[in-house]
């Protein structure tokens, strides 16, 4: 019993222009960067990217392949602001659906549950409602103390995904996925919200071992697995490795200047994943 075990390029070959792609992880933590780099090498375009955004989103903005970002923030964690996200927004080269972090969670949960929406208080009264004019509120049918006619809540629409890309520490050939770090983030919800879920991992092992709560993804949620050692680089993938802070600083510095960014691209992003890994371990 196995799911497809693919290469990153084979995963990306299953994606199409204009798709809505969810990317797991958080900020600059456990991002499926090898899959993002495979997208960079592909002709894919006009993507909508749903993410708790970090350099995954930054790179897809820099490459011009992301048309729209759906997020509540974009950060590199140890560097507060994602530089390409800033550039894209300030130059008007990318569209944004800006949501409260909890709304994004709720949108994924609604999609995973196949619900059209879920009610939430987050967003009420804020300019998230102004900049997302299609967002609606819904009135609770249940009278409560303080709300005799029912409370008004934001009707957060399901964030359905054509595909999800997540990165695990381990996976097995059956399609089960394991995270070994401190936080599952929302990777299981990204997978369940998507028509097709692709899991990259540090290592494909014959059978997963370890504490049952680490077994985040089961094979019913997953369509294909790909082994990408150091595949979250330069984001963190503890306990296998931490964030490559020095490389991230280099990335952020290069992103601030077009010429420096061209050199960065030529040095690190012009070749395939093996060439990238060789370049970053030089």
């Amino acid at each position: 019993m196995t799911v497809a075990v693919l290469t990153p390029d084979e995963v990306v070959a299953e994606l199409r222009d204009g798709m809505t792609i969810g990317i797991g992880g958080w900020g600059s933590r456990r991002k499926p960067m090898a899959l993002v780099r495979a997208i960079l090498r592909s002709p894919l375009r006009e993507l909508t990217v749903v993410s708790y955004a970090g350099p995954d989103v930054g790179l897809l903005i820099a490459s011009g392949q992301a048309r729209r970002i759906v997020t509540g923030f974009a950060s590199l964690d140890s560097i507060a602001l994602e530089p390409h996200f800033r550039n894209g927004r300030q130059r008007g080269t990318v569209e944004l659906t800006e949501l409260d972090d909890g709304m994004l969670h709720w949108g994924l949960l609604a999609a995973a549950h196949r619900l059209p929406f879920l009610p939430i208080r987050a967003g009420l009264g804020s300019d998230v409602m102004r900049v997302n004019p299609r967002l609606r509120t819904v009135r609770s049918p249940y009278p409560e103390a303080g709300h005799p006619d029912g409370e008004d809540l934001v009707a957060m629409p399901a964030l359905r995904l054509d595909a999800a890309l997540v990165h695990m520490n381990r996976a097995d050939p059956a399609g089960n996925g394991q995270y070994l770090g401190p936080d599952p983030y929302f990777d299981d919800l990204f997978c369940l919200a998507a028509d097709r879920a692709y899991v990259s991992c540090e290592q494909v092992v014959p059978a997963l071992t370890g504490a049952p709560p680490t077994l985040l993804l089961n094979r019913a949620m997953v369509h294909a697995v790909t082994e990408t050692p150091n595949g979250a680089h330069f984001t963190s993938c503890v306990p296998d490795y931490g964030r490559d802070e020095e490389f991230q600083r280099r990335y952020a510095k290069a992103a601030a200047d077009p010429d420096a960014w061209s050199r960065f691209q030529a040095e690190y992003l012009a070749g395939d994943e093996a060439a990238y890994q060789q370049a970053v371990t030089r």
């Binding site: 800006e98 009420l124 998230v128 401190p182």
Partner: protein
């Protein structure tokens, strides 16, 4: 014995931030910034031992760094919605009603400066108590109208805005119409300094007290918690 006037401005700010966590019992304290984090740790070491704090990743840790719980982001969001949390957030802009902006400066459609994004500010402000920390009190921050309402103010449904601590003063919303009021001036700061740096009409009581200075015991704790004096870089 050291006199209370030995405290630096940064240290006065630490105790002012600490005081924002008084009386809340066992709730999750989420400070943003060096001085708010020091304030929360000082509060937990002294008058608010029940506070819960994270390591910045997914673990709840006690004062000695021992793990006492697990709080991945999904659970943080549940704690927010459950109202079992308090935050002290930053603010790129804030108005007299307490509307806060951390998203972008200028027109949202094509901002002059993209900042972090609204993050959890909309949800925080309609679910639980919120305070703010502004390390440089200025007209750029204290504005008539914010460019992108992230955290909502009292005129837009905030449920509990506590204090705004700055490098100059402590402000709150204890007025009849719940607009911003000067609560106390840090020692050495004049009323005119605050008014000059505030871009909207601030309520000023007839008698404005001085912000309390840290006790000798509090100063010792602050200096032990922050031996590298990172607080002095946030508020020189």
């Amino acid at each position: 014995m050291r006199g209370a006037d030995a405290a630096t401005r940064a240290e006065v700010c630490v105790t002012a931030c600490a005081d924002a966590w008084r009386g809340d019992g066992a709730i999750l304290a989420s400070p943003t910034g060096v001085i708010p984090a020091l304030g929360a740790r000082l509060a937990r070491r002294t008058f608010a031992p029940e506070l819960l704090m994270t390591d910045g990743e997914a673990y709840l840790v006690d004062e000695d760094g021992n793990v006492e719980g697990w709080l991945p982001y999904r659970q943080v969001f549940t704690m927010v919605a459950a109202g079992r949390r308090r935050v002290m957030m930053g603010a790129a802009q804030i108005d007299r009603h307490g509307n806060q902006n951390i998203s972008c400066i200028g027109d949202w459609a094509r901002p002059k400066a993209q900042l972090l994004g609204v993050r959890g500010a909309p949800g925080n402000t309609v679910n639980h108590a919120v305070s703010y920390w502004v390390p440089r009190h200025s007209r750029r921050v204290f504005v008539e109208r914010v460019d992108m309402v992230s955290g909502v103010g009292y005129d837009r449904g905030a449920i509990d805005l506590r204090v705004v601590v700055t490098n100059l003063a402590v402000l709150d919303f204890q007025t009849a119409d719940r607009t911003m009021r000067l609560r106390s001036l840090h020692p050495g700061v004049r009323l005119a300094d605050v008014l000059r740096e505030t871009g909207f009409e601030l309520s000023v009581p007839d008698d404005v007290p001085a912000t309390r200075t840290p006790s000798a015991a509090e100063l010792d704790l602050i200096r032990a918690l922050d031996p590298d004096r990172t607080r002095e870089r946030e508020v020189p």
